[in-house]
Symmetry: C2
Amino acid sequence: MKNEYVDIDTLKFLLFNVHQIENLLSKDRFKEYDKTSIDIFIDSVKSFSDTSLYPFIKDMDDKPSYFKDGNIHVHPQFENILKNAGEMGLVGAMYDFDDGGMQLPSTIFHAAYFIMEAANNHVPGYLGLTAGSANLILSYGNQKLKDTYVPNMIDLSWGGTMCLTEPQAGSSLSDITTLASPTDDDYYLIKGQKIFISAGDHQFSSNFVHLVLARIKGAPSGTKGVSLFVVPKNRPNDHGGFIHNDTEVAGEFEKMGQKGYCTTHLVFGDHDDCRGWIVGEPNQGLFYMFQMMNEARIATGRMGTAIASAAYFSSLKYANERPQGRKLNNSGQKNVEEEQTLIINHPDIKRLLFSQKAIIEGSLSLILETANYVDKEMTSDDDKEKSDYNLLLELLTPIAKTYPAEQGINSTSHAIQILGGYGFCTDFMPQQYYRDIRIIAIYEGTTGIQSLDLLGRKITQKNGKALELLATEIQQTIATANCHNELQPFADILLDNLGLVKKVISILMPHAIKGNYEHFLADASVFMEFFGTIVIGWQWLKIATTASTMLENSNGNQPKEFYNSKIHTMKFFYTYELVKTSGLAKTLMNTEELTISGAKDLF
Amino acid sequence: MKNEYVDIDTLKFLLFNVHQIENLLSKDRFKEYDKTSIDIFIDSVKSFSDTSLYPFIKDMDDKPSYFKDGNIHVHPQFENILKNAGEMGLVGAMYDFDDGGMQLPSTIFHAAYFIMEAANNHVPGYLGLTAGSANLILSYGNQKLKDTYVPNMIDLSWGGTMCLTEPQAGSSLSDITTLASPTDDDYYLIKGQKIFISAGDHQFSSNFVHLVLARIKGAPSGTKGVSLFVVPKNRPNDHGGFIHNDTEVAGEFEKMGQKGYCTTHLVFGDHDDCRGWIVGEPNQGLFYMFQMMNEARIATGRMGTAIASAAYFSSLKYANERPQGRKLNNSGQKNVEEEQTLIINHPDIKRLLFSQKAIIEGSLSLILETANYVDKEMTSDDDKEKSDYNLLLELLTPIAKTYPAEQGINSTSHAIQILGGYGFCTDFMPQQYYRDIRIIAIYEGTTGIQSLDLLGRKITQKNGKALELLATEIQQTIATANCHNELQPFADILLDNLGLVKKVISILMPHAIKGNYEHFLADASVFMEFFGTIVIGWQWLKIATTASTMLENSNGNQPKEFYNSKIHTMKFFYTYELVKTSGLAKTLMNTEELTISGAKDLF
């Protein structure tokens, strides 16, 4: 199945050439792997996706997960998927060998999940949330928790979830009210409700391990009083078996997309017999949860990129097969005696295709870059280097979540447009991807939340140290690009944009310093779009520079057209997307406070 | 029902104050009407929409129209709707009194349909297509056609359709192959297939009158050989009754949205007994059809605006009711002991609301402006004036179709975002509007087609005369705005943008003159976004100037806040939307030919 939903050649080019992950493989932690074994792993995931995931994407939309008699029922193919994914070790792919994992780099983990999500975005969340929650137990749980839960999660006989959102609190984690009452034993009694819990229940896992944020009786208010608990659906009894732990599925949220990926409403302790075991220390729950949350944010951006990839290839196939219209001659007329041309030959269709390609490959490159910082931080022996990588990771995470979400939505919309009327019909896939991807800008912190995180925390932390580090990285890319004549004009544009970032921040920062945080952050989402576009511009220059070098050295394993297309798409991104930053900067530097000064009666 | 889906106060302000339709009512054609009678008519449409349309919007999504045993079945509520709408005269609202119509201005017709579409966008197409096709018969059909069909259409006992698209041709009307073979009688025998025929059949109309584009045997190739025919589902027999006319419904297209609005596949003459009666002269079909097509394009933009309006009010209601999070204090912290604030108090939520309001009211104003040119052309006694109004109408039509489509999609997406996770759930309306509105950028010529029309035909026609006329109109608005201190800076921005339009065209036009039409038109869709944004900027300055004048003169019937909100939203549009034109202009002036030079192997 060549490029039905994902371009493996580009994925490998990004991994091995642009992001040079062979450097990682030389580190002690990853010494069991080389390029060949990574290739084999990726190809095996692709093969699994071809046979077990992609053929079921439409059917999962047609037959959504549903709630009946207290249980969630998912598509029958999940039985096969979970069994195989468990056997392939996809949950524990990143874990230490000692924990039963494959000890693969995070970069490779994300590459593998990207393939699976492009094949069928309704599926990998079940694996990914189990991977993330087991990892959280491995990182902060005690030995008993690890022994009891992790092995059953790694092989997917049990599922894992993250339980943050409550009906009255939404994104405001300060307002969590789920209560944990201490007992004389090693557990707490948990009482409360959680909503929007992805992969929260289904018929193919015999147990679920919920990672639940709750407030210990008497804890400080706000996020400082939030603790983290393991709350299993069925808890161990004293005889080596399991009994029901007073957790109930109250319902399933019916959604416009991702219908195969269940979204549950969970009720804990309705009969005052729901036991939870604390992870780590009391009142540190949010800090722990953010390990998983940060992973989930990168994963969400990856999922958005993957959905957009599948939509792109669906529209590309159509554009390559559908004849319609003719090219204009020198008098601006069409010769109707000619055969109709394929629509891929129309500039406007090419524009829609390039736009998708630029968004998708740029986003994928950023996802891999971000994951690469996880690996670099983990494998570095130098404390300063470790800290720098962590700062870069922290800075890029909200962007890696948001750019693919917001622009991925536009990208799938372009896929619909290429199909015209058929794009709106359920016989064709783009409309499903368009429905599926809309949630990506909401999962794991909406675009608004990510943008507050970017501007309010990440840009300002340590006096702007993270931004300084990123600017150095970008300048290095610019310096390398400047060695290629064809790329110089674009390197100049990126440098100008870097200057524009500094200018915008110099205008915004005084508001924060003066204590006018509301003004400072009012346009955080506009800043996200502005800064995110520039970061993707950086990725594209990096991609083009790599392609250009490989063309010059004739040392790539792809045909010339492959590398030329990367350079061409970079130019497209700079000409059609990066030009938007000047307008966004103007908005950011306006002083009218239009979204602050107005009261309710303006609407 | 105040502002559940539409803001009648703003609609009336736009009609009576901004676009001063009382000037129209003084014309002989409309002398039966005054402000009071128009108010009553609008209020009656609102009341009909409240009771018969809005309560069924969700149920029509839940119970889509479907095809069974050769027939289309639509939601049962249509029986009531069609009966009442027919009695209210909504189909013939614009027709002459002599033709059984109400002789209302086009502007009022669009205002009425806007209300109905905001209430339930699955419905008014059934009325609008019947109105358009009956009007086409009135304009170009012979007396026999008028007598046979129009009266039954006006009261909606019969439905009307426009049949252009064929499976092999799509947007390329040159490639229509439906055949019309002359007979010795007054009819032709029709044979062919048409797809995507909206409102093409249902159980509540006893007959359908299809306006079909077909090619008379031996006609010239291309659009020059296309003729227009009335092809009824059931044709009159010799005994005053009706017999089946060999038209079959082959199926219904299952869609992601507008599920109550059926989209049919029609087959004509499968048994060589389908009779069609020519409208007007042979080979003039496309010219005639464009009367209806142009009306339909304005109507499509109106429908997009209406859907976005309903989504906006749905999200505004939520923002006014949902407490979540807190405002930041001077140290950038939240006081978690405080009650949570309503989300409408967060600047990012206000930004999403203002963005919707700016798009919707700006679009609505443009729709009414465009319709107003129809009325002005029709009622003018001066040939030069008539011709000028027609040129302005022609220039604005593709924009009035496209801006509300493309930006309306973004606007409904904002509505989803305001609801967060709930926005993705089918219990809330924004996700339905988001699915419904996606077709608007495809109906009646995709954005790509509209953009070719704008740049390739309308901008260039008569040496740019239409653009010249529009520039004069815009300059008049600027001159009036300059009398208000508060508006001057924005008038200056609009003037700069007018200069930018001229600059962009001066760069593009030489490509056309040199015969490089492919380059000239390659970025037509970007030009559409660029020019459309400026045109909406013009509408907003006009709105703000009217509001400012009424504030100064204290002669409005709305509270001050109403007029202030118009000025505030104008500022928002200029600060957040109009700033985008500089980047778009850069794209338009690039010389790289990135979407022309590349071949298929770039993807």
